[in-house]
Point group: none
Chain length 177, copies 2
DNA sequence: ATCTTATGAATGAACG
DNA sequence: CGTTCATTCATAAGAT
């Protein structure tokens, strides 16, 4: 493992198979260097600058830089997390680090399913107006409130939407909108 | 680290783990079609209706639809933004160097036509015929695996990264950060 | 060739 | 909305 420098210098060379970005050693070095020096989350502008600079060493795009930092940081983090768990040197306490389902219900829990649906104007003129004006005033973040999470802890029973995939007529005409 | 699995797009069938929403291919297709047809920011009602319809294909909640549109829109822009800087010469299309074989990857460029996708009338409601019998119906798409970047053979200047490649002129002055 | 590891890429979820 | 995080998928490179 590690970034044990291996020979990957082929970025600028010849037939680089263009499946996915394959950074050159120089590119990796610079990126790693930047990371080590404290740049963990470059801004968009920085990403573009870095990408631009690194393009000297070989084919690269800003999204590659973006992903690189994303991944590097995440893996650093996860590595650290793993060590923390795998190496409980501190005998004092235990840690049940992962519940594997901690993701939910952070602030979703605050909403009641009852809504502040202000009012549903029945402006039915001409052709059915299906677009309540009030929804236009909603900010996106407020919309989220409507969708109160309630991840039914699943499973054992609850879905009945079986593997019924054949579904002949895709009647999702969506004219319902 | 993990095992290299290859299963994707498991429909609403099996033991759907309630970790996070895993859209079926049908769901993704419909959502994508809606988006491409101009619905970029669905209202609360639309979200609920879409969710309701899509629930036929598998477990789904309104918030999933909400997030899907948020993410898709944001990433569409992000990509567009990036293309702008990475490829100043806006060409109408790009080509793929993707060799044959390997998992599908039939990326029909979704973002390539950026000179026409710009802000359509946001309200695509009422009877919108979304599924023309013979539209560009990609019969089956594994997963949207686009992001086709053109593989410039970086022919211009090949940086032969020799053993001691010290960038002459263009030195990485990382002080630009 | 097959398994394993490292890492590029994608995306659902969520934050500020 | 633009960003960031967590997880997962996919794949190139090593190891066996």
């Amino acid at each position: 493992m590690e970034e044990g420098m291996s020979v990957r210098a082929r970025g600028g060379g010849g037939g680089t198979k263009c499946g996915r970005w394959n950074p050159t050693t120089e590119q990796v070095k610079v990126l790693t260097d930047l990371f080590r020096s404290g740049l963990h989350t470059p801004s968009t502008d920085e990403i573009q600058k870095i990408s631009s600079q690194l393009s000297f060493y070989g084919k690269i795009e800003s999204k590659n830089v973006f992903y690189w930092f994303q991944n590097h940081k995440a893996r650093e983090r996860q590595k650290r997390r793993r060590i923390f768990v795998d190496e409980p040197k501190a005998e004092g306490f235990h840690f049940s680090c992962q519940d594997n389902n901690i993701t939910s219900t952070k602030h979703f829990s605050e909403i009641s399913n009852f809504n502040q649906v202000v009012e549903q104007p029945e402006k039915v003129k001409e052709t059915l107006q299906l677009f309540p004006p009030n929804s236009l005033n909603e900010s996106e973040s407020e919309k989220l409130r409507f969708f109160a999470e309630d991840c039914k802890e699943n499973s054992a029973f609850s879905y009945n939407i079986g593997p019924e995939k054949d579904h002949p007529t895709l009647d999702l005409r969506l004219s319902f909108l």
